[in-house]
């Protein structure tokens, strides 16, 4: 899994682009890297999952904890590119209702 950050200095938002499988072996990296950047300060965050072909319950758990962390930091967080199997897993896990999607 690769995690890239793109900063928009105009609106102080951060886009996180994730590529590759997000599973039991690396979901902790997703949580640690993303919340680490949240702690460095940003007003809004966009998490782009369009490059993720595989998401398991550890990945779902990381997403939930990232949302919880964003709430505690009062950071507006939106998700992009939730498609295919990743969307099915999120629907089965019943977490789509707590996710705000930014449909570009």
């Amino acid at each position: 899994m690769e995690i890239q950050f793109f900063e928009n200095k105009m609106d102080k938002s951060l886009t996180v682009k994730i590529s590759g499988d997000c599973d039991l072996y690396n979901a902790h990296h997703l949580f640690n890297d993303v919340t680490g950047r949240m702690n460095s300060g940003c007003r809004a965050m966009y998490v782009d999952l369009s490059g993720v072909p595989y998401l398991d319950s550890s990945g779902v758990g990381a997403v939930i904890r990232i949302i919880q962390h964003s709430k505690s930091k009062k950071i507006d967080i939106k998700f992009r590119g939730i498609e295919g199997t990743v969307r099915k897993v999120m629907r089965l896990s019943n977490i789509l209702s707590i996710i705000t999607e930014d449909r570009q």
Partner: protein
């Protein structure tokens, strides 16, 4: 009017889902690093229409992970037994050598409260209940694998009395869901 849906994990020792007659069998070492490899191996000859992209592999990996991590505690001397049948539907029986899912009823209560929060549009409570934490859970356990499993295994998900063995089945209409 909306209807609240609360599924439950069920214990039924004599359920037909535990009848392994005619099923293939494989014994797996409790190696956490090989969970996805194990799933891929079991599904090597699975009909493509059952795979649903990588969804079947993902759901199978979850129950193998539960057996290796929570059941056998990743003890390499313990075996995970897997029976599988991929004719007409995807059916598995998975048995570990652990002490069983003792907090099954507690998990059912957690899931019911979570669904009630969703029903009541109480998203703050729903978010707080988004993850289940038992005394042996680590920070990456959230109970969401079981939530998804209850939805995915549409033909049933049944535990034995010892709660160290689970039988699951997914049926397909027109080859896929």
């Amino acid at each position: 009017m909306k209807n609240i849906i609360t599924r439950k994990l069920i214990v039924d020792e004599n359920n037909e889902l535990f009848d392994a007659q005619g099923m293939k069998y494989i014994a797996l070492k409790s190696d956490f690093s090989r969970i996805r490899e194990y799933s891929a191996k079991i599904l090597e000859h699975c009909p493509k229409q059952f795979l649903e992209g990588n969804l079947l592999e993902q759901q199978l990996s979850e129950i193998i992970k539960n057996g290796i991590k929570h059941g056998n505690k990743c003890d390499a001397s313990k075996t995970l037994k897997v029976w599988y049948d991929l004719r007409n539907r995807a059916r598995f029986i998975i048995e570990d050598e652990g002490g069983g899912f003792k907090r099954l009823e507690e998990w059912n209560n957690f899931y019911r409260r979570r669904q009630e929060a969703l029903y009541n549009n109480d998203f703050d409570l729903f978010l707080r209940l988004a993850a289940y934490r038992g005394p042996e859970s680590d920070e990456f356990d959230g109970g969401s694998s079981l939530i998804a499993a209850l939805e995915f295994w549409n033909g049933g998900m049944i535990y034995n009395e010892a709660k160290n063995k689970v039988g699951v089945v997914r049926w397909f209409s027109n080859g896929s869901q």
